[in-house]
């Protein structure tokens, strides 16, 4: 007899009981009900209601907030209260040309428009975009037969090896036959003279019941692709998340209309694990439901431990822009070769007791499952398959680690690439201090300048009332009399608010600092305000959102204000410049055995900079993270600061730096001087300012060492606080980490808990130090 496969043997064996003549079709079709209208899915209803509630809460709370406070800059508030600002007595000059956007402008994609036809399918490479951090490809194709698909592009950079290849994402839309691919890597534009050659291969694949088969390969050679400086393409995705010491990396995501495919790699949950298993992972498109994976495939071709390709029955057919991939649980499955220690087997009985199961170590050859154990007693599993005693034992014995490891992915879209922008509208000439473009009027209310900064307040009238908008989009610039933009000094502020009872009216305050203090009695400036929400312009200012407001769910974004390009407004004005006062060393203050002194201060009507010197408690990096400065009417926190001198750190003096540490501190053990910046001055009214330093804080390492973390956890546990520690990195090389409190005593806020966490790590040295700063030289 010709040898048969097991499947054939079994098939013929069953044929006697189940003959080929059986046909269930009539019975099945008879049980199909007549379809009626499709109701909204319950989860979608809930999501919609929640979203509306969030938006309503935001609108109400924002309006209420605006009643009592709108300008967040205490220095500008003070000078306004003191009458130091200049009112509406200025000239206006309309801008007739589009305002150039400096720095992070998104450059246009380079048209390619190369086509190939293989197997009856025509693929066109439409455009390519490349900057120092991202590559994007835009493609379109003729309709694909249902069994055909396009694999992800494989891109080679001719003559260079990009650094930090951190994954890719792709959208493949069969409804309009287009695809956008974005990959993350680092290329230095200077090193390739601003251009590079690319080679792109895109496999055409047939999927059938027999599996996947490559049919053809589209190949494109792209010559002299410009490499733009910086990273301007507004798209991002999380690359790696480290949770309680175990890292998961998201290598790729492909989003199709009804499915999503993710490739992820992960560490062993334990160092000696024979292999790991991603037991529970989900994907969420927009605000849709979380979908667990339907297919799971080990990827041996990736030369990295533990990589899997997961398939999800959730796709993007509705123009969603955000996807969240979550890994909820990793396990270390047991094998028949594993023999667990008796202690571990017996310890599992604690968990198993609730099911009426007890196990004990089994001699070799008598194990009832992987791990070397046997039942002492077990219940009838009954009707619930998840209560299979053997399975419950395995779950109790398997090492597992719960996440989530959470990854945010912007779904690639050609909307991210600038197309033919609408020409900037020409503004309508208007009265002094007021300009109108397309029914949107900007009025310059007042302006102010001192030796350190220039500030303005203006009103915008005529934009649609959009309570749920969180920012005003566009660009704001203040230029000097020569037309040079002012800024870069690390001094400045911006705020915006809606005026109560006046729909569509916005108040904006903005200030920026000079590189060198002004020494003239008055100066002329030009203010340019561009209102543009059409593409990637930066935010002019963000509306204040109360901390109790519910954040938008992942993937839900507030509407843009404005939602298109309105135009640019330009105002010329001349204002008096209030002078700078320099203060010398002040009396030292001691608290908790540590002495501090203000060694120098520079004060204007709206700003204060102080050099604070002290001997650190140890050689580590003890910094002033919290500080409060008060004048007679206002109080503010520290805006910024720099390290001037530290006897434990070798620092080069900066060019033209006026901030030099006193000699006595330069010779002090653990001596340090820092410069602290505040957006508050005496405003011509206060005779002294009060500076309060509540504590010193030691900066933590990027990753807290396990032993320190463990010691802190022990301390916190006695205070009823428990936490998870996670680090993550993004595809563009950034990232961060931190803690998530999993248990807090009733009534304790996250902020209070964080303070306890810092204290437990030994990173706090309490004060407080109260220092008086006169505003005139003594």
């Amino acid at each position: 007899m010709k040898p048969l496969t097991y499947s054939q043997i079994l098939d013929t064996a069953a044929a006697g009981c189940i003959p080929e003549t059986i046909d269930l079709t009539p019975q099945i079709l008879a049980r199909i009900p007549v379809k009626k209208g499709k109701p909204m899915q319950p989860k979608m209803k809930l999501a919609t209601i929640l979203l509306l509630a969030v938006l309503a809460a935001l609108a109400l709370s924002t309006a209420a907030y605006a009643v009592y406070r709108w300008m967040t800059d205490p220095g500008l508030r003070s000078v306004q209260d003191a009458g130091l600002v200049t009112g509406l007595n200025i000239t206006a000059q309309p801008t007739l040309l589009p305002t150039p956007t400096p720095n992070r402008t998104l450059q246009p994609a380079s048209p390619v428009e190369m086509s190939q036809t293989l197997e009856g399918i025509t693929l066109t490479m439409d455009w390519v975009y490349l900057d120092e951090g991202r590559l994007a490809l835009g493609m379109k194709f003729t309709p694909l037969p249902v069994e055909f698909t396009l694999d992800a592009p494989k891109v080679s950079f001719t003559g260079i090896n990009p650094m930090q290849a951190l994954g890719y994402s792709q959208s493949l839309r069969t409804e309009d036959n287009q695809s956008v691919y974005v990959s993350y890597q680092v290329i230095h534009a200077d090193e390739v003279n601003g251009k590079v050659d690319l080679s792109v291969d895109i496999p055409l694949v047939r999927i059938s019941n027999e599996g996947r088969a490559a049919l053809a390969n589209f190949h494109f050679d792209l010559r002299d692709v410009p490499v733009y400086q910086g990273q301007a393409l507004p798209i991002q995705q999380t690359y790696a998340v480290r949770h309680n010491g175990v890292e998961v990396r998201l290598k790729s995501v492909r989003v199709m209309p009804s499915t999503t495919e993710a490739v992820a790699c992960y560490d062993f949950p334990t160092a000696d694990a024979p292999f790991g298993y991603m037991q529970h992972a989900t994907v969420q498109i927009g605000d849709g439901p979380e979908e667990s994976y339907r297919t799971y495939e080990y990827l041996s071709e990736i030369q990295e431990d533990h990589c899997v390709k997961l398939g999800f029955a959730a796709g993007n057919a509705g123009g969603e822009t955000r996807l969240v991939f979550r890994v909820h649980r990793l396990v270390v499955p047991l094998t028949m070769q594993d023999v667990l220690p008796a202690k571990r087997i017996l310890a599992a009985n604690q968990d198993l007791a609730q099911y009426g199961i007890e196990i004990e170590p089994a001699p070799a050859g008598q194990s009832e499952g992987p791990g070397g154990w046997r039942f002492v007693r077990k219940p009838d599993p009954g009707t619930d398959p998840v209560k299979d005693p053997a399975l419950l034992v395995l779950q109790a014995l398997e090492e597992k680690m719960d996440g989530p490891w959470e990854f945010y992915v912007d779904i690639p879209s050609d909307n991210l690439i600038p197309g033919q922008a609408d020409p900037t509208p020409v503004p309508t000439p208007a009265a002094l201090g007021e300009q109108t473009i397309d029914d949107v009027t900007v009025t310059l209310d007042w302006a102010y300048a001192d030796a350190k900064r220039v500030g303005v307040v203006f009103t915008i009238n005529g934009l649609p009332e959009t309570p749920e908008a969180t920012s005003l989009y566009g660009l704001i610039l203040i230029k000097d009399a020569q037309g040079n933009p002012i800024g870069g000094a690390g001094v400045g502020s911006s705020s915006i608010t809606r005026l109560e009872g006046q729909p569509g009216v916005l108040k904006v305050s903005y200030s920026t600092g000079f590189q060198e203090p002004l020494t003239v009695p008055e100066a002329s400036f030009q203010l340019e305000v561009t209102l543009d929400g059409s593409q990637n312009n930066e935010s002019i200012a963000g509306f204040e959102i109360p901390p109790e407001a519910t954040p938008y769910p992942p993937g839900v974004f507030p509407p843009r204000l404005p939602d298109h390009l309105i135009g640019s407004y330009t105002f010329n004005f001349t204002v008096p410049v209030y002078p700078l006062v320099v203060i010398g060393p002040q009396p030292a203050v001691t608290a908790n055995g540590l002495t501090m002194q203000i060694a120098r201060a520079e004060i204007t009507a709206s700003t204060t900079e102080v050099m604070l010197c002290y001997a650190k408690p140890s050689a580590k990096d003890w910094w002033v993270m919290k500080a409060t400065l008060k004048n007679t009417t206002e109080e503010t926190g520290v805006k910024g600061g720099v390290l001037v001198m530290d006897t434990d750190v070798s620092l080069k003096p900066r060019k033209s730096d006026q901030w030099v540490a006193p000699a006595e501190y330069q010779n002090l053990e653990h001596g340090r001087c820092v410069k602290l910046d505040f957006l508050l001055g005496p405003a011509g009214q206060s005779e002294a300012l009060m500076l309060t330093i509540p504590q010193l804080e030691q900066s933590g390492p990027e990753v807290v060492p396990d032993d320190e973390l463990q010691a802190a956890r022990e301390i916190l546990r006695t205070q009823g606080i428990e936490l998870d520690y996670t680090t993550s990195s993004s595809a563009s090389g950034g990232g961060g980490g931190g803690i998530t409190f999993t248990k807090l005593p009733e009534g304790m806020s996250q902020q209070e808990a964080y303070q306890k966490y810092q204290e437990a790590l030994g990173y706090i040295y309490p004060g407080a130090w109260e220092l008086v700063l006169p505003v005139q030289p003594g």
């Binding site: 199909i32 297919t295 094998t335 009707t383 398959p385």
Partner: protein, 185 residues
């Protein structure tokens, strides 16, 4: 009509797509269910229910994935659950089939005639019937439906380690029964 076309037809409301899929896979599906349940009528009911459930959720089915493994996983899982629910009604207590398997070993190794093969088939069915339920499902998935261990893990909702264990035990019995490896996988 390829499976993908049939599914697309079904998604667009054309019931002909379902008829195509039923005609193509019902026999294999019923036989797979039968191996697990050992009951012809129960197997037919399970396959009917499975097709109806797939019809009800067809809008979420990923067209780029092959249909057959999805259908067979659903059938075997439903068969497992159905048998467990009716456990008190039919006797499925696992018995030690080792002795019986050992008796079949010599015969299986020397099958040369159709008559012997036919006789052996009946014994194969009997040996499978004697396997514990989850091992029986593992055998169907691996040897009848040609799934790999990762696919089996997904089908059984179990970790790969569990699948290895199930197969290890079942394989010992079935290799004894079926003789030297004949599978091409």
């Amino acid at each position: 009509m390829p499976d993908q076309t049939a599914i697309r037809c079904l998604k667009s409301g054309d019931i002909g797509g379902l008829e195509t899929l039923i005609a193509r896979y019902q026999i294999k599906a019923i036989r797979a269910a039968y191996f697990v349940t050992q009951d012809e009528q129960m197997a037919e009911d399970i396959v009917m229910d499975t097709f109806l459930e797939i019809y009800g959720h067809i809008h979420s089915f990923d067209e780029s994935r092959p249909f057959q493994p999805y259908l067979m996983r659903s059938v075997v899982n439903k068969a497992l659950n159905t048998v467990r629910k009716r456990r008190r009604e039919i006797s499925l207590e696992a018995v030690d089939g080792t002795g019986q398997v050992e008796k079949l070993l010599a015969q299986a190794a020397s099958v040369e005639s159709q008559a012997e093969y036919t006789a052996l088939q009946n014994q194969i069915l009997a040996a499978i019937a004697e396997l514990p339920l989850r091992q029986r499902a593992a055998v169907v998935l691996r040897y009848y439906l040609d799934m790999n261990e990762a696919e089996m893990a997904l089908a059984l909702g179990a970790a790969p380690g569990t699948v290895k264990w199930l197969l290890h035990t079942a394989r010992t019995r079935l290799q004894t029964l079926l003789g030297p490896q004949r599978s091409d996988r």
